[in-house]
């Protein structure tokens, strides 16, 4: 019997399986509740559930890895984009500022009663209190020694200095800070005038000499160019008072000015081309 079974086990099992299949199909179309399909489904359900759990979590895991990689790439891309946008914003701000300055300069240039030539500062030395700066205009642009230079700062004309050296493509400007510089100045609302001398590199202040003792000068009073020397036109801002020393036994008082020019803020200056230069101007004495 056993041997018969072993010999014909394929046929026996085949018949059993066929019978089960047909019975199962029959039960599927009948109204039995416990059909073979239901029973088999109930038995295999835990395995399918476990299988679902493992497969779904595996798929989720790999999907997460893929997403993580995508997120990293996107993060790098966005960072790069942000960097570019920041650079663009910075450039835009610079251009906006430059545009504003140039517009202001153009407006003031049109208002000026003398011809001016705009120039860009190409070299300034902060270690020497900006006593000499270099501009990008030279004899090629009709620049001559002794010409006055001013700048526009916060919408106001402020004195810079005068040209002391001219080359073909560039010129050097001695600023008001330089110890060799002297400018005739006057207080904004009175006719009292004096001579303002630079003090660099000792300090960045101007000392006003020969200023009459009877004038009442107060802290923060504004001084402008007097226009007596013929180099600087009158009315250009020079500085504001930071110290006043009246001397009882002297005709003059000592006033200290803080120049209004701030070289860290400006990039462009104006060279006054056709204002009359005094005849007594010499190279050795570059004072006004």
């Amino acid at each position: 019997m056993n041997q018969y079974f072993l010999k014909n086990k394929f046929t026996i099992f085949f018949i059993i399986f066929i019978v089960i299949s047909i019975i199962s199909m029959f039960f599927t179309t009948s109204s039995f509740i416990l059909t073979p399909k239901v029973i088999f489904g109930a038995i295999s359900y835990p395995f399918v559930k476990a299988y679902t759990f493992v497969v779904q979590n595996t798929l989720t895991f790999f999907s997460s890895l893929k997403e993580l990689n995508l997120l990293k790439q996107e993060n790098v891309r966005l960072n790069e984009e942000l960097k570019q946008l920041k650079e663009a914003k910075f450039k835009l701000e610079l251009l906006e500022r430059e545009n504003k300055e140039l517009k202001q300069m153009l407006k003031l240039k049109e208002e000026a009663p003398y011809d001016v030539l705009p120039a860009q500062i190409i070299l300034k030395d902060p270690t020497n209190l900006y006593s000499v700066i270099t501009i990008n205009r030279g004899s090629n642009d009709n620049i001559k020694k002794g010409l006055a230079v001013y700048a526009i700062q916060d919408g106001e004309k402020i004195i810079v200095g005068k040209v002391i050296e001219v080359n073909f493509f560039y010129s050097k400007v001695m600023t008001v800070f330089d110890a060799r510089s002297s400018i005739s100045v006057k207080e904004l609302y009175s006719n009292y005038s004096g001579i303002a001398r630079g003090d660099a590199p000792t300090s960045n202040l101007l000392q006003v000499e020969y200023f009459p003792n009877e004038a009442d000068i107060f802290f923060n009073d504004i001084f402008i160019t007097a226009g007596f020397g013929g180099i600087f036109p009158p009315g250009i801002l020079v500085g504001k008072v930071v110290d006043v020393q009246k001397q009882n036994f002297s005709l003059y008082q000592k006033i200290t000015l803080k120049p209004l020019i701030d070289f860290s803020k400006i990039q462009y200056v104006f060279v006054i081309l056709n204002y009359e230069i005094t005849e007594d101007y010499t190279e050795s004495s570059i004072s006004e």
Binding site: F13, I18, I20, S21, S24, M25, T28, K37, T52
Partner: protein, 173 residues
């Protein structure tokens, strides 16, 4: 060795069921809602290297699992796969040609038998006949799509470790 073979049947059966049933994958293999019969291809290919009786059990179980989770008549696929294995078993002396065109021919023949069985049982169990009333065109797509899988599965099945695992049939008989 038996344990290894059972493990082999379990793994390969699970993978094919996973693909075939698309329980978790939302029919990613389907073309115009037609799925290939990967399990049939697997059974035919495995029959060439595996034990006959083991293949009969494998065919019945996998067929029944497909029936349970695919909404068919429970037992229809099990019946069909058992019939296929029985036919292969009875004609195995004539099935020594182990070439791809021959496998394609066997799969094609089995699919035609499947069509006949489906319509036969559709006729017998009239109540659910409508489930199997697919057009000949979609069945033609089903046949072509199934045949498309034969070369790929044969490349996977007939690798050396699998043949060695089932070497009892290859060399033992």
């Amino acid at each position: 060795m038996l344990f290894k073979r059972i493990l082999f049947y379990f793994i390969i059966g699970s993978i094919c069921l996973f693909i075939q049933l698309s329980i978790f994958t939302n029919n990613f293999l389907a073309i115009k809602n037609v799925m290939p019969d990967i399990m049939l291809v697997l059974i035919i290919l495995l029959f060439q290297i595996c034990d006959d009786f083991e293949m009969l059990i494998f065919a019945f179980i996998t067929g029944f699992v497909i029936d349970v989770y695919s909404g068919n008549l429970a037992g229809l696929n099990a019946f069909f796969y058992c019939i296929v294995v029985a036919l292969l078993y009875n004609f195995k002396n004539y099935l020594n040609i182990k070439t791809l065109p021959f496998y394609l021919f066997l799969v094609l023949l089995s699919l035609l038998i499947k069509l006949f069985i489906y319509y036969l049982f559709g006729y017998i169990f009239k109540e659910v006949f409508v489930i199997y009333k697919s057009t000949l065109l979609s069945y033609a797509i089903h046949i072509l799509y199934t045949l498309f899988w034969v070369p790929f599965l044969s490349m996977i099945i007939y690798i050396k470790p699998i043949i060695e695992l089932n070497s009892k049939k290859m060399y033992g008989k």
